[in-house]
Every structure is written in structure tokens, then in C-alpha cells.
């Protein structure tokens, strides 16, 4: 259905033991959206992405994808629809490539072993992605032979091998040397221009402004402010957002 949101998070509750991370967080996302999530350290940004990826149990609330129930709390258990989970991809801060496989096999492992794609087809697709990201010469290198920026671009290509409908990025440039950040951000901008729906956690406000269609400030377990980057980053409506944004920009200068 055309009016269904790509992703709808409703009244999400999550705790680690006594620590309450989300207290009824509600957030939704259209197919054309690139959501940048900002918020204080330890506020649960990584946890939110991990929940959407289906890596975490939740305490309450529900998540829909295309109007279909994706993650629900059912009695004492968290129910995750594996078919919908397969449509989400995630890129982690520390790349986490498979160290025992070369770059080509890093890309082909999941499609060949779990999606039943033929090896030839997977390799052709992988080479296409590597060429697009300027990494085709590295197809037979091992992860340890690559720079951080190259590794992170491989990790993005690996996620794209499964044709996700939503791609999650958790501080993917935070572990990189400053001079390598741009090459990874360029790849993400390219994906943005190609219309890939993304949910991005970043501390880089400049990049956030460039790539976001919407910026979400989450703090205290709920969404505090949600709007276009010109609003949330430049003219926040809520005092709490203003405080946070001013502090972050002050640190930059």
C-alpha cells in the first residue's frame, strides 16, 4: 500500500536490567527518507539501530515495515519476522569483515550460503559493487591488507549484496583516521542520491546536514525533536535540542 510507511516504530520500550533506554519512543520513516539520529552519548542510538536490525529483544511496543508487523512484543517474548529482517542491512563502526576470507568472499558468503545465489552470479554482482566503489583491484586481498576507509567501503558493499530496502549506519566513520572519512562519506552520499533509504547515527554534524532528509534528536528515551536538518540543526524548536546542538557545534570550533 502506497501510504504505508517504510518503517514505523510505535511506543518502543527497552531496558538493560534496571537501565531504561527507551520509554515509549515513536518514529516513522518514508521510503525516500534519510534519517540522521543524533543524541547524547549513551542515549541509545546504537541500541535503536540494533533493535531495527533485529539484534535486540524489546520490552514493549511494536515495529512495522510496509504496514506489516516486523518486531512485536508477544507476552514474554520478542517476535521478529525473519523475512522482513532480511530486508534490512547494517554497517557497524568497526567494519567487522570476515578476516579469514578475501574481499570477494566477504561479499559473496551471505548471498551464496543463505540466499541460494549461485557463486558465479554472486561474484559478478560483487565485482560490480567493488568496481563502483573503486575497490575492484582489492577483490583478492584480505581485510588486514586494507585501510580503514577501504574496509568500511567493503562492509557497505557487503550489506548491499543482499539488496536491502533499508540500510543502517552506526557511526561508520568514527573509527577512521580523519583523512579517510571523506571516501566513506562519498560512498554514502552516492547511495543517498540513488534513493537508498538510510538510518544514520553520526557525530559529524556537517555530514548530517549534507545527507539527511530528516534529523531526529533522541534523548531521555524518547524523540525530542524531528524535522528537516535546517530546523533541527540550525533553528531547533525545543530548548533541549538547542542546548545539545550548541554544545556539539561549540566543541567543533
Amino acid at each position: 500500500m502506497a501510504q504505508d510507511k517504510l518503517l514505523k516504530i510505535h511506543n518502543l520500550h527497552k531496558s538493560y536490567g534496571d537501565l531504561e533506554i527507551f520509554k515509549g519512543l515513536t518514529l516513522s520513516m518514508d521510503r525516500g527518507d534519510r534519517l540522521v539520529i543524533i543524541g547524547p552519548s549513551g542515549g541509545g542510538k546504537s541500541t535503536l539501530l540494533r533493535i531495527v536490525m533485529g539484534l535486540e529483544d524489546i520490552v514493549g511496543g511494536d515495529i512495522y515495515m510496509d504496514g506489516k508487523p516486523y518486531i512485536l512484543r508477544d507476552g514474554a517474548k520478542t517476535k521478529i519476522d525473519r523475512k522482513l529482517q532480511a530486508r534490512v542491512g547494517m554497517v557497524f563502526q568497526h567494519y567487522t569483515l570476515f578476516p579469514h576470507l578475501d574481499i570477494l568472499r566477504n561479499l559473496t558468503l551471505a548471498p551464496v550460503k543463505t540466499r541460494g545465489m549461485s557463486r558465479a552470479e554472486a561474484e559478478e554482482k560483487a565485482m560490480g559493487l567493488l568496481t563502483r566503489f573503486g575497490l575492484d583491484a582489492k577483490a583478492h586481498a584480505y581485510p588486514s591488507q586494507l585501510s580503514g576507509g577501504q574496509k568500511q567501503r567493503v562492509a557497505i558493499a557487503r550489506a548491499l549484496m543482499l539488496d536491502p530496502d533499508l540500510l543502517l549506519f552506526d557511526e561508520v566513520t568514527s573509527a577512521l583516521d580523519p583523512e579517510l572519512v571523506a571516501e566513506v562519506e562519498a560512498v554514502m552520499m552516492e547511495l543517498a542520491e540513488a534513493g537508498m533509504p538510510m538510518m544514520i547515527v553520526t557525530h559529524d554534524m556537517h555530514f548530517a546536514r549534507n545527507i539527511a532528509s530528516r534529523v531526529v534528536f533522541a534523548a531521555g528515551g524518547v524523540v525530542v525533536e524531528d524535522g528537516p536538518p535546517e530546523q533541527v540543526l540550525d533553528a531547533p524548536q525545543v530548548a533541549r535540542t538547542r542546548e545539545f546542538v550548541e554544545r556539539v557545534f561549540a566543541k567543533k570550533r
Binding site: 536490525m53 570476515f98 579469514h100 558468503l109
Partner: protein, 222 residues
């Protein structure tokens, strides 16, 4: 007093070689069987089935915590009683050293499994790699790779420990060397020669461990 005659052992080189062959054969067989046993044991120790976990832990702690010599005697006397027939010295020695090798390698595998970062598992779940695919294509190869240097050290240890089987009458390098030394009354020359032979086999292996370790660490430094 007799003077030291370094030429004595050379007169018996053929007998010593036969002994060395026995030591090497035993080490290789027990290493192969022990690695398989050790891997299975390391899995059993992670089992959700409590009795299996307890049994595996008991076995490992027992064989790591007691002298190998006593394990040997114990197997040599108990195995015939348990089986109801005499399995022969070679088979008993294989069983005893395999049980010892299995106990030490299971610890090696346990450590290498633990050293696989949590993020690898998260990444696999995000990519839909679960169950058998996860175990076979991601966990097992990384565990093996990380275990190789320690397994090589285990092999050197096993080779040296195998000298103990001479105590139960197996004609290995140690046994043949010491019987020659008894017969000729040349213990210093013969025992030195035996030590040199053990060292000549073990030393290159320990050197290789260092090299292999450096290579693997470089590969895994992601």
C-alpha cells in the same frame, strides 16, 4: 673412569632411528585423534545439556591436573579390565596419549572460540548467516586459524611427553636409547644423544610456531 666418547651413539644409529620413528608415529596419530577429540570436547563444554558439560569438564580437568605418567599406568592396567581383553601396548599408548592430547587441545579450542569478537556474530545475524552456516563458514575457520600456533605448541609438548611411554615398555626413542645405555654402560653419551635428537625435532617446530603466529595475527588484525 671411562672418558667421554661422543662416537658411541653413532654405532647404534639404526636402532635409535627405529625408536624415533615409533615416537613420531605415536605423536602424529595421537595428535590427529587428540585434535578431533579436543574440538568435540570444547563444543561439549559449551553444550546446554548439563551432564554432557559436566562430563567434559571433569575429563579435561582430570587429564590436565594429573601426571601423564600416572595416566599411562592407569590406562595400561585399566583398559584390559574395562575391555575384557588385552588391547596391546601400542593401542594402549595411543589411547592414553590421545586422552591427554584431547584434554590440552580442548583448552586451546576453548580459548580460540572465545577470542572471536562478539561483533562477528552480530554481523552474521545482520547478514542472515545463522545456524550451521554460521558455525561452518565463520566460527570454525576462525577458531581453527586462531588455534594453529597453540596446536603446534601442543604438538611439541606431546612429542616430548611421549617419552614417558618407555616406562610401560614401548620401544620408542627413549626406551631404545636407555636400554642401549644400560647394555653399553655409556649413560652420559646415550642420554645426551637422545636429548639432541628430541631437540632436533622439537626446536624447528617451536621456531615455526613463532613465525606462524606472527602471520596469523597479522591476518586477523582487522
Amino acid at each position: 673412569m671411562m672418558h667421554f666418547d661422543p662416537m658411541v651413539p653413532f654405532k647404534y644409529w639404526d636402532a635409535l632411528l627405529i625408536g624415533l620413528w615409533m615416537s613420531l608415529r605415536l605423536t602424529l596419530i595421537c595428535l590427529a585423534l587428540g585434535i578431533a577429540l579436543g574440538f568435540l570436547t570444547s563444543q561439549a563444554r559449551r553444550s546446554r545439556f548439563m551432564p554432557l558439560r559436566a562430563l567434559a569438564t571433569f575429563y579435561v580437568e582430570l587429564f590436565r591436573g594429573t601426571p601423564v605418567l600416572i595416566q599411562l599406568f592407569w590406562i595400561f592396567y585399566c583398559l584390559p579390565l574395562l575391555l575384557g581383553f588385552e588391547p596391546g601396548n601400542f593401542a594402549s599408548a595411543v589411547v592414553a596419549l590421545t586422552l591427554y592430547a584431547g584434554a590440552i587441545t580442548s583448552e586451546t579450542f576453548r580459548a580460540s572460540l572465545k577470542s572471536i569478537p562478539r561483533e562477528q556474530y552480530d554481523t552474521c545475524r545482520a547478514l542472515g548467516i545463522t545456524g550451521m552456516s554460521l558455525a561452518l563458514w565463520v566460527v570454525l575457520p576462525q577458531a581453527l586459524l586462531r588455534a594453529i600456533p597453540t596446536l603446534l605448541s601442543n604438538a611439541v609438548a606431546l612429542f616430548k611427553e611421549s617419552a614417558l611411554i618407555s616406562a610401560v615398555g614401548m620401544a620408542d626413542l627413549m626406551f631404545i636409547g636407555s636400554s642401549i645405555s644400560n647394555r653399553t654402560g655409556r649413560p652420559v653419551e646415550m642420554l645426551t644423544a637422545i636429548a639432541v635428537i628430541y631437540f632436533a625435532v622439537a626446536f624447528p617446530l617451536t621456531r615455526i610456531v613463532g613465525r606462524v603466529e606472527a602471520r596469523i595475527l597479522r591476518r586477523l588484525a582487522v
